[in-house]
Amino acid sequence: MRFMLLFSRQGKLRLQKWYTATAERDKKKMVRELMQIVLARKPKMCSFLEWRDLKIVYKRYASLYFCCAIEEQDNELITLEVIHRFVELLDKYFGSVCELDIIFNFEKAYFILDEFLMGGEIQDTSKKSVLKAIEQADLLQEEDESPRSVLEEMGLA
């Protein structure tokens, strides 16, 4: 996968994850272009389209569009299910997730995405495993404030 975008029907970008090094200027341009194209599509149209030298797979969930760019040889249908799996993960974590959750907890959304996809590839497709990893990380963050021991910092413990 090259990148994933989440945006609302009003064209507000909620999440952007890029899996290749791209200049900021180019990112902005691509996002604008893609948003225009996807938002212009009607509901009954198919979920795939060709854009530049990539394939775009998108799906709308409530007020959010989930949009992925994949390469020529990648499988479109399985990418649709990648999107669905991601939404399921968000749903499990936030409990009946809605767009507001993603807005106010964007760093968590990124974190969940990172646990699920790395470098554009799926890490683990088991919902349980991914959620477990996130839970563990959350618990760690809940621990007390003190910095790790000096020894730990020096990598000696």
């Binding site: 064209g11 507000k12 902005k28 604008r32 272009e33 948003m35 225009q36 509901p43 009954k44 149209m45 198919c46 795939f48 060709e50 709308r60 969930y61 409530a62 007020s63 499988n75 479109e76 249908l77 399985i78 649709l80 299910e81 669905h84 399921e88 749903d91 974590y93 936030f94 409990g95 009946s96 997730v97 809605c98 767009e99 507001l100 807005i103 106010f104 907890n105 760093e107 990124y110 790395m118 470098g119 590839e121 799926i122 890490q123 683990d124 497709t125 088991s126 495993s129 839970e135 563990q136 990380a137 760690l140 963050q141 809940e142 404030e145 910095p147 730990e152 910092e153 020096m154 990598g155």
Partner: protein, 728 residues
């Protein structure tokens, strides 16, 4: 709302986000942001050391501001500091998103990462690996590329860390392949395919697939492992794989990846392995015919994803006729499916199937369905796929039908795809022309329907063909003459018409309806509507007329003599008018006849149209067989007398063998087509000037796309409710 307790709630962040959302204008938003930036800046500079919670809050705020689209130029140091706290996630996220090339910072970051990698704590290790994968810079590759393979294959590495390590390594390999040396790790990495943990296998496969593309020999042991893994999954009951079963489909992602990996290699040589694989593929094809286990679209998507990937593999092998035909039939079923997605993918897959010799005929049987799709599909992307498939399945037997359909589609096609369609129709018309008058008709139709999108290569080509083939010259002259009668005809038509009448107008001059003067008047009636290059071409046609039809000399000289020509502000036009006028006055009929002799046939060169299509669509579109085919067909191009039984015999065989003889046009499309005959010296200057590049696609409207900030309208609608998304 969140099920997890939010002890580190970061109220400050939530308040800030609310403030931004409530801003009623862009200006208000910028003001609020600047206020916050100033606040954060002062806090970071302040004397009091910030506690971890505050630091994290501010780093997240900066991140939020950046993601809104504003530039951030500070905060990196604080983010790096967070890395050594026990809440490093925010810091890592900041660094991955706001990459900074400050070498001091990089050193600190790499240090933090190194610590985390050796910490033995899986969470920290994973965070570090994620950061490396997200940034993926060369510096990181240099620092860690040797460490990560070790982590990957170490016996005591936790599964979750192994997954991260595999994908991290993949990322580094993609950006800095020279720094990732597999060497001693190769067999251990391949062995990961047998790992107990499906997640590890999933991650490892992505890595192995990429590595085997670059080093197929080193990794070829993965093939048999992949086949046995796939076999186990495909034949498993849906309860076996538990957590990895997705809506009743066993391990769909893993299956797809295994099938992808197998596409990096030719069919397995070992008989047993091959047999098992064929069995697998047949099972997958069989399952597609079974009634679905669930009505949910996720089930069918997952099942079909595997099916399509299996079909891709079958097409890639191109060696099992039975499987190929079955695949083709399956796709044929999908062509008429309710779901648009499946119709789209079926059309896409069939395109590749069409080029295989085993299945080409099977694909052709679906021509009516595809034509119907072209006419009736409401989604333009699906229509485009149908057009692509028609192009791919075209051969002698159906060329006329397909070209006719593509022409009628062109009349209503999207502007963005017209140029490509024009090129394709031109290629097909030339490649499969048995009857060259049909070819001429087709190209002229192209100009009539989509004149703006007919590039130079296309109309140069039709002229070259007419010049090279005696048998079609009369027909061309007549057809072009008729086409020019239309009250509004495209400028490209005038160019073609002008040239052809100039060369072959004599062939129709006998008929009083197309006598020389009538021809001249027809051309001249368009003169003032045309651009400079076209007018230059027409002037050349006029002097040719003087040679062909001496009775028109007076009339034409009159035209050349008038002020608007000999004092024309354009240098080229003026020069031509003056020189042609002079030439017609002082040259004897013999000299004139020699100078304006009929154009000699063009030498054979490679088709520039094919080259242009390839450039437009990117590599891999025009298959090698296409080019070879055109080379072979090109041999028929020259010389009118070769038509008949010979060409028919050549036509019936579809197998393409590269012919040592003719190519088509020169790739050097800059070469002036109307090269001056040697004897004329420099009298006839370059007739066809170079046109500029094709119009760029519609520019994205930069200003104001997101200017007006409407009130926030995001709903609290749950994303995963039935019917809240798009239904199929």
């Amino acid at each position: 709302m969140p099920a997890v307790s939010k002890g580190d709630g970061m109220r400050g962040l939530a308040v800030f986000i609310s403030d931004i959302r409530n801003c009623k204008s862009k200006e208000a938003e910028i003001k609020r942001i600047n206020k916050e930036l100033a606040n954060i800046r002062s806090k970071f500079k302040g004397d009091k050391a910030l506690d971890g919670y505050s630091k994290k809050k501010y780093v997240c705020k900066l991140l939020f501001i950046f993601l809104l689209g504003h530039d951030i130029d500070f905060g990196h140091m604080e983010a790096v500091n967070l890395l050594s706290s026990n809440k490093p996630a925010g810091g890592y996220l900041f660094i991955s998103v706001l990459v900074n090339s400050n070498s001091e910072l990089i050193r600190l970051i790499n240090n933090a990462i190194k610590n985390d990698l050796s910490s033995r704590n899986p969470t920290f290790m994973c965070l570090a690996l994620h950061c490396i994968a997200n940034v993926g810079s060369r510096e990181m590759a240099e620092a860690f590329a040797s460490e990560i393979p070790r982590i990957l294959v170490a016996g005591d590495t936790m599964d979750s860390v192994k997954q991260s390590a595999a994908l991290c390594l993949l990322r580094l390999y993609k950006t800095s392949p020279d720094l990732v040396l597999m060497g001693e790790w190769t067999s251990r990495v391949v062995h990961l395919l047998n790992d107990q943990h499906m997640g590890v296998v999933t991650a490892a496969i992505s890595l192995i697939t990429c590595l085997s593309q670059k080093n197929p020999d080193e990794f070829k042991t993965c093939v048999s492992l992949a086949v046995s893994r796939l076999s186990r999954i495909v034949s498993s009951a849906s309860t076996d794989l538990q957590d990895y079963t997705y809506y009743f489909v066993p391990a769909p992602w893993l299956s797809c990846k295994l099938l992808r990996l197998l596409q990096c290699y030719p069919p397995p040589e070992d008989g047993a392995v091959k047999g098992r694989l064929v069995e697998c593929l047949e099972t997958i094809l069989n399952k597609a015919q079974e009634p679905p286990k669930s009505k949910k679209v996720q089930h069918s998507n997952a099942k079909n994803a595997i099916l399509f990937e299996a079909i891709s593999l079958i097409i890639h092998y191109d060696s099992e006729p039975n499987l190929l035909v079955r695949a083709c039939n399956q796709l044929g079923q999908f062509l008429q499916h309710r779901e648009t997605n499946l119709r789209y993918l079926a059309l896409e897959s069939m395109c590749t199937l069409a080029s295989s010799e085993f299945s080409h005929e099977a694909v052709k049987t679906h021509i009516e369905t595809v034509i119907n799709a072209l006419k009736t599909e409401r989604d333009v992307s699906v229509r485009q796929r149908a057009a692509d498939l028609l192009y791919a399945m075209c051969d002698r037997s159906n060329a006329k039908q397909i070209v006719a359909e593509m022409l009628s589609y062109l009349e209503t096609a999207d502007y963005s795809i017209r140029e490509e369609m024009v090129l394709k129709v031109a290629i097909l018309a030339e490649k499969y022309a048995v009857d060259y008058s049909w070819y001429v008709d087709t190209i002229l139709n192209l100009i009539r329907i989509a004149g703006d999108y007919v590039s130079e290569e296309v109309w140069y080509r039709v002229i070259q063909i007419v010049i090279n083939r005696d048998d079609v010259q009369g027909y061309a002259a007549k057809t072009v003459f008729e086409a020019l009668q239309a009250p509004a005809c495209h400028e490209n038509m005038v160019k073609v018409g002008g040239y052809i009448l100039g060369e072959f107008g004599n062939l129709i001059a006998g008929d009083p309806r197309s006598s020389p003067l009538v021809q001249f008047n027809l051309l001249h009636s368009k003169f003032h509507l045309c651009s400079v290059p076209t007018r230059a071409l027409l002037l050349s046609a006029y002097i040719k007329f003087i040679n062909l039809f001496p009775e028109t000399k007076a009339t034409i000289q009159e035209v050349l003599r008038c002020d608007s020509q000999i004092r024309n502000s354009d240098v080229e036009l003026q020069q031509r008018a003056v020189e042609y006028l002079k030439l017609s006055s002082i040259a004897s009929t013999d000299v004139l006849a020699t100078v304006l002799e009929e154009m000699p046939p063009f030498p054979e060169r490679e088709s520039s149209i094919l080259a242009k299509l390839k450039k437009k669509k990117g590599p891999g579109t025009v298959s090698v067989t296409d080019l070879e085919d055109s080379k072979r067909e090109g041999g028929e191009l020259n010389g009118g007398g070769e038509r008949g039984p010979d060409t028919a015999a050549m036509a019936s065989s579809n197998a393409s063998t590269p012919s040592p003889s003719a190519d088509l046009l020169g790739i050097r499309s800059a070469a002036p087509v109307g090269a001056a005959p040697a004897s004329a010296g420099s009298l006839l200057v370059d007739v066809f000037s170079e046109a500029g590049p094709a119009a760029p696609s519609a520019a994205v409207n930069d200003d104001g796309f997101l200017r007006d900030l409407e009130q926030p309208t995001e709903t609290c609608d749950s994303l995963l409710v039935e019917g809240s998304g798009d239904s199929e």
